[in-house]
Symmetry: C2
Subunit: 154 residues, 2 copies
């Protein structure tokens, strides 16, 4: 194990910033959603992903891919949302094993009700804090990272 390449000052700043911003933003938004809409961020993300899919429905596996949770974690949360009446399960035509999660009427309604407050919070914590240039740069960098990880995960 030879001497590794340590991080220089900028690299360290990027990394510390990443860790810190990540946690702080997550914490802040978690609370906002819980307080204002009674949803965890995970649950909100599930609703968002479903709402963006055709018919407001997705197969469990596809949903798990888009979110970044374990399969069992998804099963758990979908069950919670089902109990709350926001999501339903249907079986998947053509594959008996498959399960399709689908937004209910109430799910759509809850999401529409939660979205404005959440967007405002996102602006407040992340978007409006930065200049347009910073924001564009951030989007560029983070998407590079995300794409790269998506690719190498497979």
């Amino acid at each position: 194990m030879d001497e590794p390449r340590w991080l220089d000052e900028t690299e360290m700043a990027a990394w510390r910033g990443f860790v810190e911003a990540t946690n702080l933003v997550a914490r802040r938004l978690e609370r906002q959603l819980k307080d204002d809409a009674g949803l965890s961020h995970t649950q909100y993300e599930i609703l968002v992903q479903l709402s963006a899919a055709p018919e407001g429905s997705l197969r469990m596996t596809d949903l798990a891919d888009r979110l970044v949770t374990s399969k069992s974690g998804l099963t758990y949360q979908v069950t919670q949302l089902e109990k709350a009446g926001l999501v339903g399960r249907r079986s998947c035509p053509g594959d008996v094993r498959g399960v399709i999660a689908e937004l209910t009427e109430q799910g759509w309604h809850t999401l529409r009700a939660a979205a404005p407050g959440h967007v405002a919070a996102v602006r407040d914590t992340l978007i409006d804090v930065l200049t347009p240039q910073q924001l564009a740069a951030l989007a560029d960098s983070l998407n590079t990272v995300a794409d790269r990880l998506r690719a190498t995960d497979a």
Copy 2:
């Protein structure tokens, strides 16, 4: 509740990128640390913060501030690390209530052993994926966000 300002394309890209990169990077590094060093990222962060402090020790409250966990979460993790022999608790001179967490010899050793692999993984997932310009821009944006949140949390 009037019509909110929705996110435009760049804003949305930044936000989605943030959520996605955040989760993917966290997941990746969590696994790396667990596999290679038997530590969770939280635990590793505790060791790092302690190692950066004078004497390798910090008061619980200060530690909780630097990490971004709840007080009870910190108590739990420090107890775990104590069981593992990486951290010790001392009482705080001058304030009977206070507790100081302190790296043990073994804690230093474990951290030194874990660091190279972790740094390599950080490079791999985040740093080396970006150009120097992207990296500098990322550091700039994220630190702006973090600083701003630190300020408004108080």
